[in-house]
């Protein structure tokens, strides 16, 4: 047994800790039982890791993400990030929503700068960084455009820039590419991996796509249907940087199969 005190290697300590995290919503009508959305999840992840939360709709994975983000309170258990309990949204968290959620009356640049403006840090350096990020996602020419002039994929890139502009240590993403077409989605996945390679940001990524979960992640948490509980933890063990061809490799397919079996969509492969 290690003592968590002096002499311990800090980098080996988990970055995020989920300890017995559960969420129960009160019954919608009198007499009905309370709804257990999330059933006691215990998990930890390290700095720089990309973790996918994979599960069917309504399995509580988004609820779990919001609890980690401090945007929803857990009914039980606790979440710690970098040794501090999360009780509300943090300055160094970035959140990317399912919808781009851009403010239509602001330009693309002003949307990216929104978190800085709220934090009172909307200075020249922030603007510089926002423009660099827009350049990184290929939207430098659209800084002065309005959201309605952009396609869905472009909007979600802007949303990604907005989440990244404060330089978050933890990026939380709630099915951010779910509404995009297949090709755009694959581009966005590679873009996210590029950004993570450059920034070293830790990422928790919610998705209901098996291949997306595996393609992105160091580790995939597979959730059961409601009440959501972790039924499998898959360490992908795939090397970064990842190439699109990876999707057609046997090890990728095997991982997909394992995740699919966990979700109950395919039968488990018999051990041979």
């Amino acid at each position: 047994m290690q003592s968590p005190s002096a002499g311990e290697d800090v980098s080996a300590r988990p970055f995020g800790v989920l300890d017995d995290v559960g969420k129960t919503f009160p019954a919608s009508s009198r007499g009905a039982p309370d709804v257990v959305a999330l059933d006691r999840v215990t998990y930890s992840f390290r700095q720089g890791e990309l973790v996918s939360l994979l599960g069917p709709s309504g399995c509580g994975k988004t609820t779990l993400l919001r609890i980690v983000a401090g945007m929803t309170r857990a009914s039980s258990g606790r979440v710690e990030v970098r040794g501090h309990e999360v009780t509300g949204p943090q300055d160094d968290f970035g959140f990317v929503f399912q919808a781009p959620n851009l403010l239509p009356w602001r330009t693309v640049l002003a949307n990216v700068l929104f978190p800085m403006e709220i934090a009172g840090r909307n200075d020249a350096a922030a603007k510089q960084r926002a423009l660099e990020l827009l350049d990184l996602v290929g939207l430098a020419a659209f800084a002065r455009s309005r959201p309605h002039q952009l396609s869905g994929g472009m909007k979600q890139r802007v949303a990604l820039c907005r989440a990244l502009v404060p330089g978050p240590s933890l990026l939380l993403m709630d099915e951010p590419f779910g509404a995009l077409d297949e090709l755009t989605r694959m581009e966005m996945q590679d873009l996210l991996l590029d950004i993570r390679r450059v920034s070293g940001t830790t990422v928790v990524f919610v998705t209901h796509s098996i291949s997306e979960a595996i393609y992105l992640a160091d580790e995939v948490l597979v959730f059961s249907k409601r009440p959501g509980r972790v039924i499998d933890r898959i360490r992908t063990g795939l090397a970064y940087p990842r190439k699109p061809e990876l999707r057609y490799s046997p090890e990728f397919t095997a991982l997909e199969h394992r995740a699919g079996a966990g979700l109950g969509v395919v039968h488990a492969r018999s051990a041979s």
Partner: protein
């Protein structure tokens, strides 16, 4: 595409022309007395002959309507902000506000005349009264119906209540403010005319009454043309503001 654009101008014009033609042939065929329904050409003659009078009286009605609307806007928007921002104020006043919606404001006009006299004040007050409610109610509705995902964004970046209000809820409500204003500006003209009907010695409403009492029906019609010009003009002004703001709001919130 340009086809439909031309059609959007030409077809309403054709509709209007058709109505005027029907009017003309009805009067000619049934030999209707000019004191009951004058021919369109008579109305046109009366309008041209009295155009200075119509413009000068119309100007008064226009100002009454416009000032009434501006007053309604200036008082209505802050009240809506207060109502939407405070649960207490909301509970105190919102039901009252909805209840007063059902009161025919015209019924208050005689009282207002007693309180404020026959000058511009009473017309302004009546115009204000009818324009006030749509602005307050629509603005408050807009402020309460901020898309939930925008509020989620505010939470995620730790915006305080003040920032959430001014940077998200208020701008998100602007389309509602405009749509309330479109209703309000039209009502303000009606309010001003009612005020003139009840007690006044100026304005197009007054001229209309005078023309009526002299059985000068072509002049009465000319007044109506003047009034609709005012209504359409003011409405178009608000619609122009809306159009100018369009790029700021795009198609939807997403």
């Amino acid at each position: 595409m340009s086809d439909s654009r031309i059609a959007r101008v030409l077809l309403p014009a054709a509709g209007l022309a058709l109505l005027i033609l029907l009017w003309h042939f009805y009067v000619v065929t049934f030999d209707v007395a000019p004191a009951v329904l004058p021919r369109p050409t008579l109305v046109l003659d009366a309008t041209i002959a009295n155009w200075r009078l119509i413009v000068s009286e119309g100007w008064i009605t226009l100002l009454e309507s416009l000032y009434g609307f501006i007053l309604a806007f200036v008082l209505g928007v802050p009240l809506a902000v207060a109502i939407a921002g405070s649960r207490t104020l909301n509970l105190m006043f919102y039901p009252l506000l909805i209840a007063t919606q059902s009161l025919p404001k015209v019924a208050l006009a005689p009282l207002i005349l007693v309180w404020l006299g026959t000058g511009i004040e009473s017309k302004l007050a009546i115009a204000w009264l009818v324009a006030f409610f749509p602005i307050v109610v629509d603005t408050a509705t807009g402020l309460r119906n901020t898309p939930a995902e925008f509020l989620d964004l505010a939470t995620s970046v730790r915006a305080n209540a003040f920032q959430t209000f001014w940077k998200i809820r208020f701008p998100a409500a602007l389309p509602f403010v405009i749509s309330g204003s479109k209703v309000a500006i039209t009502l303000a003209v009606i309010g001003a005319v009612i005020g003139e009907f009840i007690g006044s010695n100026e304005g197009l409403g007054n001229l209309l009454l005078v023309a009526n009492s002299q059985v000068n029906i072509p002049l009465a019609f000319a007044c109506l043309i003047g009034l609709s010009a005012i209504g359409i003009g003011l409405y178009a002004a608000v619609a122009a503001v809306e159009l100018a703001l369009k790029p700021w709001f795009g198609t939807t919130g997403h």
